[in-house]
């Protein structure tokens, strides 16, 4: 990684490190109740306190020339601060800006709010019931999206089956848990806003702020320093409207808002879901029909959920040949914090269901789980249930690589007393974003330095390193001569988002495009010097020459100097196509498929139910590996990361009140929990394009572990996380099938 030393030394400056002259700190007053009316809000005393510069409430919005209260990625249902009604514990009600934290806290204490509590609803299935309280008046059934896929005749498929298995799987509300909490600094100068924020999608933030404040795109400048982790939680607008709106009232003084861990838990979460999955199969192991119904809890506001829940539809089926498929994905409002993408978005939950379910079927048929999957696996050239033809897919190779790493064909390790061992595997397919655009600029100067202007966000994943390598190789400039100018909407061109493992692929594609244009410009510049047509010139190894007189070579620097150019700057662009019909789910789900697999061996203590992952082998399809060591770290990191939601992580609530909003009660895996044997394979194929690898080996972790637990002790766990207590209860209840 290019900045590895700075990272190890703690020298990387995050948003939280930013200090500006005269900067104020913001603090947020939050709802103490899960659902109810704001009867009265009195903030006049707070503003008169010493050190308090501004107080923001809903009264500041929707006035002539003022900001708009409501915003939302797809449905504008979320107020910047609550007006009249609160919908979850922790929802912002007022924001203060003050000279220091003590003054800000005193101001919050001086704001009087009277609430009238109303019935609340927390579970997506219950929230859809007719008796449940409506969280938004215009959605009486709390349903905000219904994604569909219709392929073939499922009734006929189930009728043709020898047997049908139906199961219900759940995955709870959880945390992205970036080490760096959301932080943003906003400053207004005249009517122009500059905001420094830890966000994965700078242009999405710009668009939202522009709409809220009714200004032109160029009047909002979003600058993104390196992030201390994102994992989807920083993928859309979060705290930026709060801090920008309060900063508008400080007479130009900048304001910083940095969330505490408890506030972080009230700001963004991983979607909880209930997944009903039903499959018909024949005795030979072939699949005749599959029906999947997903009930996604969206929390109090839709945020990016409508798009994510639609994207969950093709991600809910699995990489298998099934003649009839029906998927229904419902997005449901609840009185909990809004949910958002979580690394391996939606696939982290859907893979849990379909890969556990596949083992249930294999067990019923008495077929080895690897063999059973192999019989049904989709290969390139075959058709998926979206109607699209699969290309460049290697699910089978990924799964076999993981299984081979573990030694699937070797005899099982024997149990010793109370410790029972078992093995399990899983594979996943995930779409990336179909219609999206990445742009970049490349500038080559007369010193031979190549500068890449990119809005790709560096969040510790090494994106800037990989992009610099791609630029270096494509242009033919040493890596040491490549500079990166990171996200700043006043400087770096448009990029949709740093998420969905798209940066190496999409921004990498934009860089390749720009590199070709840059080389065209170099040929044009060199042509008069060499006195041949530009098209006759060859560029290789950072030099330009006419193949007819290959000994006369021009360096880039020399070319620029002799052309009297200080620099050459070009733009590059890469876009993806596709999209699915909202009623049938037919079309093209993705420009390419994300592919990953895992296989593991676990040990279960039958007296306590405690699961220990002894060995884990993962594999993903990378297309072309750019940086082997960073790519491997993504595979390994995903496995350890994935052990959290598999075994430990769950946000707990008591009547809407958070029970564990801190990192000592909310349990992340410790490095001591990592498997002693951790193997990783990165599959490539000749002439393949770049594939993202940031998420591929995460979704298989939970089902691979659950399948291994089943193999060890004969019980099927269907609710995440796979806690010791759940396993022990299941063991005491007896083997499940």
């Amino acid at each position: 990684m290019l900045d590895a030393e700075a990272r190890v030394r703690g020298e990387v400056a995050y948003a939280v490190d930013l200090e500006l002259p005269d900067m104020l700190v913001a603090a947020v007053l939050r709802s103490p109740i899960p659902h109810g009316r704001i009867v009265e809000l009195e903030a006049s005393e707070a503003i008169s306190l010493p050190g308090v510069v501004a107080v923001l409430t809903a009264a500041d919005f929707d006035r002539p020339g003022g900001p708009s209260l409501l915003y939302g990625a797809i449905i504008p249902d979320q107020p910047v601060v609550a007006k009249d009604r609160v919908r979850y514990v922790g929802e912002p009600v007022a924001v203060v800006a003050a000279v220091d934290h003590a003054a800000a806290q005193a101001a919050l204490a001086a704001i009087q709010v009277e609430y009238e509590e109303e019935p609340a609803t927390y579970d997506p299935l219950q929230a859809m019931n007719s008796g449940a309280p409506a969280i938004h008046a215009d959605h009486p059934d709390n349903l905000f999206v219904h994604g569909k896929l219709r392929h073939g005749d499922v009734d006929r498929g189930f009728g043709e089956a020898d047997e049908v298995i139906e199961e219900t799987y759940t995955s709870p509300l959880a945390q992205q848990a970036s080490l760096e909490p959301h932080t943003a600094v906003a400053r207004w100068q005249a009517d122009r806003l500059t905001i420094w924020t830890g966000a994965q999608a700078p242009y999405t933030v710009r668009g939202a702020l522009q709409r809220i404040f009714g200004v032109q795109p160029e009047d909002v400048r979003v600058i993104v320093p390196p992030l201390g982790g994102g994992f989807g939680g920083k993928g859309h607008v979060r705290i930026e409207p709060l801090v920008a709106a309060v900063a508008r009232k400080t007479g130009g003084r900048p304001v910083k808002l940095s969330l505490s861990r408890a506030e972080e838990f009230a700001t963004v979460t991983k979607h909880p879901v209930v997944i009903k999955i039903k499959t018909g199969f024949r005795r030979d192991g072939s699949l005749t029909a599959r029906q999947v119904t997903l009930y996604w809890g969206g929390g109090a506001y839709a945020d990016a959920s409508p798009g994510l829940i639609r994207a969950s539809v093709p991600r809910a089926v699995g990489p298998y040949r099934i003649s009839a498929v029906q998927v229904d994905a419902f997005g449901v409002y609840t009185n909990l914090p809004p949910s958002a993408a979580y690394r391996g978005a939606m696939s982290s939950q859907t893979t849990w269901a379909y890969e556990s379910h596949m083992d249930s079927i294999a067990a019923r048929l008495g077929i080895d789980p690897l063999e059973f999957r192999e019989r049904n696996m989709l290969h390139s050239g075959e058709s998926f249930c979206t109607g699209e033809t699969m290309h460049d897919v290697h699910f089978s190779e990924c799964l076999r690589a993981a299984a081979a790493g573990l030694g699937w064909d070797r005899p099982k390790t024997r149990d010793s007393g109370r410790l029972c061992r078992g093995r399990g595997l899983a594979v996943m397919m995930k779409s990336t974003i179909p219609r999206s655009v990445s742009e970049c600029r490349l500038a080559l100067d007369a010193d031979g330095v190549l500068t890449l202007y990119t809005s790709t966000v560096e969040m510790g994943q090494g994106a800037h390193t990989a992009l610099a390598q791609i630029a270096s190789e494509a242009v033919g400039v040493e890596l040491e001569k490549v500079r990166i100018v990171g996200p700043d909407t006043a400087v770096t061109p448009y990029d949709a988002t740093t998420s969905a493992s798209r940066s190496t692929s999409m921004m990498g594609g934009a860089i390749l495009d720009a590199a070709e244009r840059l080389k065209d410009r170099l040929r044009e510049a060199a042509a008069p010097i060499v006195e041949v047509e530009p098209t006759a010139l060859v560029i290789a190894g950072g030099e330009i020459y006419d193949p007819a007189s290959a000994e006369d070579r021009l360096s880039y620097a020399e070319t620029l100097e002799r052309s009297d150019l200080k620099s050459i700057e070009v733009a590059g662009k890469h876009s993806s196509q596709g999209g699915l019909d909202p009623e049938t789910g037919q079309g093209v789900a993705t420009p390419h498929w994300h592919q990953g697999a895992g296989a593991c061996e676990v040990e279960v203590d039958i007296e306590t139910g405690k699961v220990r992952v002894l060995r884990y082998h993962s594999a993903s399809f990378a297309g072309r590996v750019v940086n082997p060591s960073l790519a491997r770290l993504q595979n390994d990191g995903n496995v350890i990361f994935g052990m959290g939601p598999a075994l430990l992580e769950e946000m707990a609530f008591d009547q809407g009140q958070p029970v564990n909003p801190n990192l000592s009660d909310y349990m992340l895996p410790s490095i001591l929990d990592a498997p002693e044997e951790l193997g990783s394979e990165l599959l490539e194929s000749e002439a393949a394009e770049f594939h993202g690898i940031g998420e591929m080996t995460l979704p298989p972790v939970a089902p691979a572990i659950a399948n291994a637990v089943f193999d060890a002790v004969g019980v099927r766990i269907r609710d995440l996380p796979i806690t010791s207590e759940r396993v022990l209860r299941a063991i005491k209840e007896g083997p499940s099938g």
Partner: protein
């Protein structure tokens, strides 16, 4: 809102500072728990009185009657103390299982006891060892048996002006075997779901004395004298071990938290009392 910070250099000065601050004062030892409470705004003392400057409060000493550990001795120092490791290895083990090495280098044994967090390791072992603590206040000094010390969640017998200065662990004649088994139901750095300490003395293979304490599964660490007595006068065999494990599982009202339900805690008491006893029995044979 920020607290005044003082760092007295003698016990007397600390007692005086605490007396002056009254209810507004909080003692800070290692600070690993207190700093979290401050950050989460669970407490907001006006005065923080650090015990860090009082040399006399740190260290392990021993006499023929007891082993004494200063209240400000870091858990890591207890874990590494040759005296503790020789005489009461289970206490060294329990201190070595707390949190992670960064916490252990900072947290103190006295602070750990005074906080009285139920999800903790050292109190369970110390209770099984019949330990007591010494506390100093303007009224003088007193010794409190650990069985009287823990009174409930985060509640101890310490008075508001009292400072815990020392932990005393009595020596017993003959050879004792000690074991501490910590069960983490979640990650490897989690607090205990259940902790069990066992202390047994044997004469000619016959158990002459048994102490078993169960912690983290209930409000305060618990011993059950009637059940302990089942072992006395016979070898610590399989069936008596099972009876004692049952006795503890039946006799303790367990609590419920994110580490496990009340039902699960009871099951784990049964398992880990047995495992702790098997450990002392196997080395005792």
């Amino acid at each position: 809102m920020s607290a005044e910070f003082t760092r007295p250099e003698s016990i007397e000065a600390a007692v005086e500072a605490l007396g002056e601050a009254g209810d507004e004062g909080k003692l800070i030892a290692g600070g690993t728990a207190l700093a979290l409470m401050l950050r989460q705004r669970l407490i907001a003392p006006a005065v923080l009185i650090s015990l860090d400057g009082i040399q006399r409060l740190t260290g392990v000493s021993s006499s023929a009657d007891d082993i004494r550990i200063g209240a400000m001795t870091r858990l890591r120092q207890v874990e590494a103390s040759p005296e503790v490791r020789r005489a009461i290895p289970a206490l060294a083990a329990a201190c070595g299982e707390v949190g992670n090495v960064r916490v252990r280098n900072q947290a103190t044994l006295g602070g750990n006891l005074a906080e009285a967090d139920y999800a903790s390791d050292p109190p369970t072992v110390l209770l099984a060892l019949d330990a007591s603590v010494r506390a100093v206040s303007p009224a003088g000094e007193r010794q409190i048996r650990l069985s009287d010390f823990f009174q409930g969640f985060y509640t101890t017998a310490l008075g508001s002006g009292e400072i815990l200065t020392e932990i005393l662990i009595p020596r017993r004649p003959g050879t004792r075997r000690t074991a501490y088994v910590k069960y983490r139901s979640r990650s490897s750095e989690d607090r205990p779901c259940v902790g069990v300490a066992a202390v047994a003395a044997f004469e000619d293979g016959v158990c002459s004395e048994l102490g078993v304490a169960v912690g983290a599964a209930c409000e305060t660490p618990r011993r059950i004298a009637d059940v302990e007595a089942l072992a006395v006068g016979q070898p610590l065999g399989e069936s008596v071990i099972r009876d004692i494990a049952e006795g503890y599982a039946d006799g303790i009202e367990t609590l419920e938290d994110l580490r496990g339900s009340s039902w699960y805690r009871t099951e784990m008491i049964r398992v880990f009392v047995r495992r702790a006893l098997e450990e002392v029995a196997s080395v005792g044979r």
